[in-house]
Structure formats: C-alpha cells, structure tokens
Subunit: 217 residues, 2 copies
C-alpha cells in the first residue's frame, strides 16, 4: 500500500526527473516544501521499497517500479483536472488544488469511469499529456512563447506554471489552451512581447512569455 505522502513524493520525483537527469535531495525538498533531512529519510525508505536508486550524496533516480507508480499518480492528477473542467465546469485555474487531493483516491473504478466519460483524453486542461493506463507518457516538445519571432502565428498549447495566480492572470488576458495569436512586436529592450488574439492586443513581459507554451501554425 502506497500512502498519500508517498504518492506525493513519487509524483514530484517524476516531474523533476522529466526536466533534469537525476534529481537532488535539495530539488525535491524545495518542490515538496519539506526539509532536506525528511527527504533524505524518505529516500532511504524508497530505496528499500525499490522505488528509487539512491546512495548517500548521489542523485536520486526512479526505478521502473517507482516510475510506474508515479505515472499512475500523475495520470490520476491530470485525468481529474480534465474531469473537473470538462464535466464539472470548474475553471482551469481552480482545478490543480482539488486534483492534488483527488489524485490520492484509491479506486480504479472511479478513475476508469472518468476516463470513459472524457473519451480517453490525451491532455489535461493545462496542455500536459495524460499518462495512459499502461503507464506510457508522450511528451510533446514544448516551445516557449518567449522564443517566437515577430510575424509568427501560434496556438497556445500549455503553461509552465499551473498556480491559480498565474492562470487567473492569463484568464484576464483572454489566454487559455487552444487560443491562437500573432506576434505583433518584440521589444528588444526587455524582451516583452505584443500578441494579437482575435480582437485583443496584449503586451506580455518576458516573465510571462516564458511560462506560456505554444506551437507554430
């Protein structure tokens, strides 16, 4: 039996290892908001359980078993977010904190029904891919809006930050996955960027444009 706490460690370990080759105790500690000694002792426990490869002062890597458990939690998280927006009509800026709790429900039947009702969705409301039941995760390449050039037409596909604050800000600019826009201007001085989406023209700082993911059209 995997506990609530263990599921959180596993999921965040997976998220970190998708961005970096080898995860440090410090990174995981910061991600979870848990002090380093606590993380160290959990990693020792995980090594015994066979979820990670870990020896003192070395990087942490997930084993096949740890990764498959982690993928299941990530699947439950993203499936839930999709369900909350598509079926229940909850805003994409609100779903993360609810999914953070529901991802720990133990009921294959419940998540199976979700999947069925959503017709086996492939991405969550933030544009992130949903791991399959078999534990397969297809990572599509991500391009930052900040990397686009003047004149390019893009489609918003995702975000780098699912916090309520950031998503509420994007809502206020009319930006969400699926929206198309054309880069009108990039200011050389501060790299801020002007984008035209439908009848709206918005200026986005580099900080923002770094967190918005797009595909070229």
């Amino acid at each position: 039996m995997i506990t609530f706490t263990e599921e959180n460690y596993l999921k965040n370990l997976l998220l970190l290892s998708m961005e970096h080759e080898g995860v440090s105790v410090l990174m995981l500690s910061k991600k979870l908001g848990i002090k380093m000694p606590t993380v160290t002792s959990m990693m020792k426990k995980f090594a015994v359980k066979g979820f990670v490869n870990f020896s003192p002062y070395k990087q942490i890597t997930l084993t096949a078993s740890g990764k498959s458990e982690a993928l299941l939690v990530l699947r439950k998280h993203r499936l839930t977010e999709t369900f909350l927006t598509r079926v229940m009509g909850i805003g994409w800026e609100e779903v993360h904190s609810i999914a953070e709790q529901i991802e720990h429900i133990q009921s294959p039947l419940f998540f199976g029904k979700m999947d069925e009702m959503l017709h086996y969705p492939e991405t969550d409301p933030h544009g992130e891919p949903i791991p399959t039941k078999e534990g397969v995760l297809i990572q599509q390449p991500k391009m930052r809006l900040s990397a686009c050039r003047v004149g390019e037409t893009v489609r918003l596909t995702g975000v780098n930050d699912s916090s309520k604050e950031f998503l509420t800000f994007l809502n206020s600019k009319g930006l969400k996955p699926g929206v198309r826009g054309k880069i009108e201007h990039v200011e050389p001085y501060d790299s801020s960027l002007t984008i035209i989406c439908g009848d709206r023209k918005e200026v986005l700082s580099k900080t923002i444009a770094d967190k918005v993911l797009v595909e070229l059209m």
Copy 2:
C-alpha cells in the same frame, strides 16, 4: 483544520447519535473498527476542541459545533454518493467506499458544483437524506419491510446497510430505491416474506427484510 481521521470520528459519532441518545466509547469503537483506548483519547481531544461533551465513564454527546462539522462531512459523503451514481453511472453498491474517501476533500467549490449539477438533491442513492449546506438534516421516519403486513403495497425508499455485499444481493433480487412491490405472504414460522415486484416474486428472510426500508403506498 479538521483532519481526515477526525472527520471520520465526527461523522460516525453523528450517525450513532441519530439512532441512540448518547453514544458509548464501545459503540464508537466498534463502528470505526478502532480499539477503545484510542477512542477514549480521541474523545478527550475532542472535548478540548469543543466537539463533544465527555467525562470519564459517561456517554459522549456532540456539541453544536461538533454536530455542525459532522453534518458537513455527512453532506459531502451523501452528495458524493449521489454524484457517483447519477452523473458517473457507478452502481449504488460501489459508491460507499469511494465516497468514504472523497468526503474528506477540502473544497467548497468542488462540492458546490456537485450540488448544482445534481440540482440540489435531497436524498442519496440509498435513500438517506442529504444535510443542507446550512447543516439541516430532515430525518424522514423509516419503516422496515419486515414490519409490513400481507396485502400492503410499498415503495422501497432506503436500506439500513450500505455494504457492497448487501447491495449486490439486493441488485440480484431487482430491489433498489423507487421499486414498488406488494407483500404476498409472510411466513409465521421464520418471518420470511414474499414480495411481488413487477414480474418478479422474491422470498426475503427476516434478516434481509429488516434492512430494507419502505413507505406504504
């Protein structure tokens, strides 16, 4: 902040106090499947928190504050069960164990949406009333099928036991809330009862008929 564990104690304390005036440590211990000393120490904690009135060797009673917290948990449980059956199409024999987990989710928004999608339901799939947001619980009088007499026509309104095993058994007899039937025979020897529902004729032992709740038509 009320924990997962505390919510379970509160809800079960409420359920017991709806049937008995004053709850004993033993009763709560049996209901929760937790040993008596553990229950005693939790009740001491609850007394300090102001959730219960409790002094050694006396009965436990919920305070107004404890009752209102308990009603909120019961509301989340029953709302969830209703959502799982009506929106997600999960069988009434499966929903209890899932609701047992989801009732601990902390998100008024989530439960508010559920309520809205279900058009503010008043009873759960087992026929139990759902406490209102304001903490009002309307207990309709319950009549046992075993108390009915030959010739009476009844409507199944609820059950006394929401275990998967029992509900699966009722499913096999075609019995669920809303179904109507006529008592054809009551066997004096063992109080078993024969009921006609539509084109089916079923014989139910007293054990079963005691757990099936009906209203006379």
